[in-house]
């Protein structure tokens, strides 16, 4: 897959970090406003997809990134299990997914106990998954159809 013209490349250089930051904002504020791990994770993936589409794909570097993304995804799923397992541990094996952190007041940034943590973990997982799927479908597809 080739890259696009210089206009698209320059605008991508400026806009991709902004999209990424907005995704982080949506994830972190998931328990206060619309959004959350799923929406934010897809926005993060969109920033990476924009970069891949505009700069074109160089197969070796994308393969290396794919390994990192797989690692991130596995770590995220693991983190979700660890958070829930900690709840199980602290509730002396009675409640899975115990909300073991102080919940704070509704409407503050630091509230909701483990909910923001789970938001972050799920966001990382969705981002890694969708970017990996995109890389596989657009890059390997060229190999397959030739």
């Amino acid at each position: 897959m080739q890259g696009m013209t210089i206009i698209v490349k320059k605008i991508t250089q400026i806009m991709a970090p902004v999209i990424f930051l907005f995704g982080l904002y949506v994830i972190v504020h998931g328990h206060l406003s619309p959004g959350g791990g799923f929406a934010g994770g897809v926005i993060l993936a969109a920033a990476f997809i924009l970069q891949i589409l505009s700069f074109g794909s160089i197969l070796p570097s994308l393969r290396r990134e794919e390994v990192w993304l797989e690692l991130l995804e596995s770590t995220a799923v693991m983190g979700f299990l660890v958070i829930s397992g900690l709840g199980l541990l602290l509730a002396s094996f009675r409640i899975f997914f115990l909300n073991f952190i102080n919940r704070g007041t509704v409407g503050q940034l630091l509230s909701g106990g483990i909910i923001p943590l789970e938001n972050i973990v799920v966001g990382a997982e969705v981002c890694a998954a969708i970017t990996t799927i995109f890389i596989a479908l657009t890059v390997y597809q060229d190999e397959v159809t030739q």
Partner: protein, 177 residues
């Protein structure tokens, strides 16, 4: 309110019909986009902003992936006339339609009208903000009341990624050195 929904739904139905009958696969994919973006507007009208955000992004990414898939192919849907299999399929489709209409007719007895609430559990979830400490009640349900569901979702996503890589990767990673 309901009128807007009906207009958007009719548009979605027209888009899906065109999408299924188009000869060029590219125009089929583009008019399939009508259905997805119409769904976004429906979600916004039905007061589900979380879903609207997710749906609009997922729709864009689905369209990009689909266009990337059909870009290098022949793209034309060749029409080679009906055969026996198509005949059987049509009969199956009619039977299924009648069956679904029967079920729908039965179901409408249980359904209340549009806008009147049905599920009894929701009051418990609505008071849940005090329990979970999350101002966004949807996030509260996803990550606290029904966290098992989210765990299952993560597993399914992981499995799907592994499946895509398994199907598509031609050369595996080099073993050893």
């Amino acid at each position: 309110m309901e009128v807007y929904l009906i207009i958007v739904l009719v548009l979605m139905i027209l888009g899906s019909l065109y999408s299924l009958n188009a000869r060029d696969l590219l125009s089929a994919v583009v008019s399939y986009g009508i259905v997805g973006f119409g769904l976004v507007i429906c979600f916004l009208l039905l007061q589900a902003p979380d879903l609207a955000i997710v749906q609009v992004l997922v729709e864009v990414i689905t369209l990009i992936i689909m266009i990337a898939v059909i870009k290098n192919t022949t793209r034309k849907e060749l029409f080679t006339g009906y055969d026996a299999k198509a005949f059987v399929s049509a009969i199956v489709a009619v039977i299924f339609t009648i069956l679904f209409f029967y079920v729908f007719d039965k179901m409408t007895g249980v359904l209340t009208g549009f806008g009147q609430h049905l599920t009894r559990m929701s009051t418990a979830y609505l008071e849940g903000a005090g329990v979970t400490g999350s101002a966004n009640l949807v996030t509260g349900v996803v990550f606290d009341f029904r966290a098992y569901d989210t765990l299952g979702e993560a597993t399914v996503l992981f499995t799907a990624v592994v499946g895509v890589l398994t199907v598509l990767r031609l050369k595996g990673k080099k073993k050893g050195k």
